[in-house]
Symmetry: C2
Subunit: 412 residues, 2 copies
């Protein structure tokens, strides 16, 4: 058996110590610097940490042997479960940015770079036919638009969201409130097998953690943490989905909600979210519009940068503090003079996995800024067909808007 | 037959001239000053007004005789229809404030001072059972809270709103797009008779005006103009209700909308309104909360006015420019020192038509500022029972909030 490098074994060992919850673990890591440093400390040093009693000290001493950590590793290998640490480049980028992100994650399936273009779809376990249908429809639409659908594998809205993504041939990640050694709810065996094929089952809990009331709220911060925004489809008042919405707000993610009839308690939570500022969603376009709503901001006093052809910087209209790294990488220092529509520039090759429509658009824009209304004629696509694809290409950072009505490709 | 005074006859005569629409009428009034001055002018003066041709000149000349105006007056008297001119004190106060308010109104029934506490409930003629039920329920609730329900007597949501108000024993006003000499739609005969008993049928159109496509959009500005806010219950995209919503925004009135299932086109217009900033409404409380949401604004640099006991001025949170006179009459210049909770002041007598709960509250607050949380103990009412009644008393200007959490009565 090949065991992982010591730093990861130390992290696993630390997480497995009985009596160390996420808060105590965070405290220990803050004080000692890393899991390895925690385990290298002495009993007297441990005892000085608030919340650490004799039981935890004895557990930490046992953890130094890596015995439990190695047993955990063997369990994971046998079950096809992989681990990724926060220090790995493969660790989900958006999740890394939240406060107190999990030190490492257990997962079954695959975590891909494209999964950072993710949206969570969550909601009530006791959903109506209406809610289930909308969750499935919106998940399918967003999956087709290139989004990975994050949810919690619960009965009701969660399962419908995963199914919608799967049926559209898209990607979906289920974040569990228990260890990957358990299946909960038990009837979701076939669903979770499909999710592993087109995404991942993921958990911060050790392999054998049983589902409990304390692990699920904790899990919700990961659902929002993995996502650019969360979409709530049916939630009662005081429900778990509203807790996830609070996490999303704390993490500076967008919150979307689907309205429904005002005489059904299943939609009460969604209506409350909308009254509190969540975006009302009637279709995929509402989400694409919001997540790709860039405004042209003229910046005449910024340093000029001749390698950037566009005239100004882009800032998202709604988010004051935008935590998405993918969006933060948008150029913020650019030339102050607008680019002429005919400026020829060198664009990168068109991605091999682009759809035929995406390719048509990228070819039309190749090397020059183009007015959006010139696109129908150049691509043979109608404006209603074009707009969602433009949004997707914007999210994929294949194109960007300049001067509001023009689009350009990024330079090679 | 007793005819009205000449100035009103002049107004009727001018409005009856064929070929003079609301715009030309407004132009003539702006140029000459009043209907009487218009009719006293000469043909050559009339001809100088853009839009006035030989036909209108001949009509104006005939109007000078008051022949048609007197015939109109006789028709109205015979049908029990009354007229109220913009210059009359009885003219609806909120309507007077819109741009180009009607010079006079025809009505059947009664227009009362309390009708200025009005909300419009409007929506699709092709409504669903869900929409009809909500329109009726919300109209009944708002009528019970003391609001007069304004609507357009149309099939669907309008009729349900009128019925809800009537069944709750409240007041309701139907603003017609035709003259009061016609009944449209024809099946609303019994409904309009009931409305006359508990409110009014109202129109700016001359008695015999037939319903037409041009009069209805024009009418919508009166629906919003009479109201503190409008509530849209089911509306398709590009529907008349959305036009009324635009008028409401122009007139600085609140816009409320009821959400519904996102897969039904009957709710599409409402969802669009909410996305554009309308308040999502699930119950009467949402509207009461919005229309009574006063913030305490400390004003230390304003002129002191010892006759006002409260400490600061109240400004509505949401409306930057508040056009409601009833609300504008809230004291804006007040003392800069907060009132002590125990300051005894002289309150006006408790209104005879106050409900038992309202009386209990007014007695509890009599003469002193009171913390809201003292009220349950003083009145025997629970907080959920108290809050809507407090909102109503606030709208009725029987109480006002000071320091956010205290209420006082107005002084005698």
């Amino acid at each position: 058996m090949n065991f992982p490098p010591d730093p990861l074994l130390d992290q696993i060992a630390l997480a497995l110590v009985p009596g160390i919850g996420p808060k105590t673990q965070e405290k220990l890591l803050n004080i000692f610097g890393s899991a390895s440093m925690v385990l290298r400390a002495s009993s007297s040093e441990w005892r000085k940490v608030p919340g650490v009693g004799p039981k935890v000290v004895s557990g930490l001493r046992q953890a130094q042997s890596h015995e439990e950590a190695k047993a955990e590793w063997q369990r994971c290998v046998a079950a096809g479960v992989q681990l990724v640490a926060r220090t790995d480049s493969q660790y989900p980028e958006l999740l890394r940015q939240i406060s107190a992100p999990p030190s490492f994650l257990y997962y079954q399936g695959a975590l891909l770079p494209r999964d950072q273009q993710a949206i969570a779809i969550i909601g009530s376990r006791h959903a109506t036919t209406y809610g289930l249908r909308q969750a499935e429809r919106l998940a399918a639409g967003l999956a087709r638009a290139g989004f990975t659908i994050i949810s919690g594998l619960a009965r009701g809205i969660d399962a419908a969201a995963h199914r919608g993504a799967l049926e559209a041939g898209g990607r979906t990640i289920a974040v569990l409130g228990n260890g990957l050694g358990h299946l909960y709810p038990p009837e979701h065996g076939p669903l979770s097998k499909e999710i592993v094929q087109q995404g991942a089952l993921l958990s911060e809990n050790s392999f054998l953690t049983v589902p409990s009331k304390t692990t699920f709220p904790q899990r919700n911060r990961i659902i929002s943490g993995l996502s650019l925004g969360i979409l709530v489809v049916e939630a009662r008042k005081r429900s778990g989905a509203l807790i996830t919405a609070c996490h999303a707000v704390d993490q500076n993610r967008e919150v979307f909600a689907v309205p429904g009839p005002i005489d059904r308690e299943e939609s009460e939570g969604c209506h409350q979210l909308i009254q509190d500022g969540a975006k009302l969603v009637t279709g995929v376009e509402d989400i694409l519009a919001e997540l790709t709503q860039w405004d042209f901001v003229s910046e005449s006093n910024v340093e000029t940068n001749p390698s950037q052809p566009e005239a100004g910087s882009f800032s998202k209209r709604t988010n004051e503090a935008d935590t998405s790294r993918s969006r933060q990488s948008a150029p913020s220092r650019t030339r102050s003079k607008p680019a002429a529509p005919s400026t020829k520039t060198k664009s990168p090759p068109i991605p091999a996995d682009a759809s035929p429509e995406e390719k048509a658009i990228l070819q039309a824009v190749d090397g020059e800024a183009l007015f959006i209304d010139e696109l129908p004629q150049k691509t043979g696509l109608s404006m209603p067909q074009l707009l969602p694809i433009l949004s997707i290409l914007e999210i994929k950072r294949q194109i960007k808007r300049v001067d509001g009505q023009k689009i350009v490709r990024y330079q090679a």
